[in-house]
Symmetry: C2
Subunit: 251 residues, 2 copies
């Protein structure tokens, strides 16, 4: 059996907050004790806030390229300027659509920059963490200091997808839990090599947690996942979920 618990009582997060401590407090409130194979999934938004990744749009001066692109996509030029700063290349544009390759390698709308639930006056934007795998590792270490158990940690975000309607949770940071599970070479039940060879394990966990997080508010930005196969310090990070360009037929 796998169990998922949405932790209640995490307060609004601001820059400098000890997110691991807030999580441990919420676990105590729920009378849950961390176990070694537990995985904690954190919504990207609270990690970014704790790391001070909020930008006041009033401080952003859009350049020529941002001004032109903003006209094409119909977005705030200051937001577009931030998207360009965060990106390696533009993948697709259309009215209301700006899909880029984030400098981390993630292909996503608006470089993952969010304007919902950032600030009550709405003139702030929130960037992704600088290094989500690193953030996950630090959360894991800090949770270990506070509880003597190092859980797996995933940082999740909601991604749109080609061909399919609706967003799903995706792992942008992983520590201590396998981002991918490589089944290559394993036989099926009749001894044939498996057709499906690599499983997007971290993304499946992020999608599962997303079912409990909701979108309209931030009351449940942390989900505990219990009952998965064991976590491991040697597990691959979320960067292993990024398809290398040479195997990508949809660049």
């Amino acid at each position: 059996m796998v169990q998922l618990f949405a932790l209640e009582g995490i307060p609004p997060v601001v820059a400098g907050d000890d997110l691991a401590k807030l999580t441990v407090d919420a676990l105590e409130l729920a009378e849950l004790q961390l176990q070694p194979a537990d995985v904690l999934v954190f919504a990207q938004k609270v990690v970014s806030k704790a790391e001070g990744r909020r930008v006041d749009l009033a401080t952003v001066t859009p350049g020529e390229r941002a001004l032109e692109l903003a006209r094409t996509v119909g977005k705030d030029p200051r937001l577009v300027e931030l998207v360009l700063r965060e990106s390696r290349r533009i993948v697709r544009t259309a009215k209301d659509v700006l899909i880029v390759e984030h400098r981390l390698g993630l292909i996503m709308a608006n470089a993952g920059i969010d304007q919902s639930n950032v600030h009550e006056d709405g003139n702030f934007a929130l960037l992704l963490p600088e290094d989500p795998d690193g953030s996950a590792g630090r959360l894991r270490t800090r949770l270990g200091e506070l509880t003597s158990v190092q859980p797996g940690v995933i940082i999740s975000d909601s991604f749109g997808r080609p061909w399919r309607v609706g967003t799903v949770g995706v792992a942008i940071g992983c520590a201590g839990v396998a981002s991918i599970i490589d089944m290559r070479g394993k036989p099926d039940m009749f001894g044939r090599p498996l057709r499906v060879t690599v499983i997007g394990h971290g993304d499946e966990i992020a999608a599962a947690a997303s079912l409990l997080m909701g979108q309209a508010d931030e009351a449940r930005p942390v989900v505990l996942v219990r009952g998965l196969a064991s976590t491991s310090a040697k597990a691959k990070p979320a960067s292993a979920l990024l398809r290398p360009p040479e195997t990508d037929l949809f660049r």
Copy 2:
């Protein structure tokens, strides 16, 4: 709290099997009683088998187009012939890669045709159900007859994705559980309209269930998901997860 149970003791499924009855037997074995908001996720493979969608490759004669395409992609020409018969168009080809738009609208490798775990001599292929939303509806009705509770039903398959490594579970059939949740117009916690507006709910459930199903054998092709928000007879089918061509920038 959301709980996921992988049902044990489902026997190998053959054409004509009453999959709902096998599931009810497995629920009894696990001492689980269906509840109204429960969702049962079925691996596509067992639904296809019960519906007799197995094809003996010895009965398939590849046409000219299949023979030529088979050389390009390096696959069995008889398999390629089946893929073409099941598809509307070819999306991408490369060595070992044949991505098509299935006649159902799903964009996937090999039209979802599977050769793993189909038969011990390996010369059989398994097609997707003719109408997975219909299959989900029939399973829901039949489960209702057997237990007096109509659970949500999802039929899942593993899909590869552009840009990301690894497969994730995806909903190809849904009945009585929302395939998508439309948040458009709902405000965020500060009253701003939400950036993320439609959630791929059915896909997130399929991904969660996939964590328990495994890939290397078929011992756990059915997963019970308990604790989600309520199911509904009016919920949209899995076809609602297919992006209309006019909004698809990655055709």
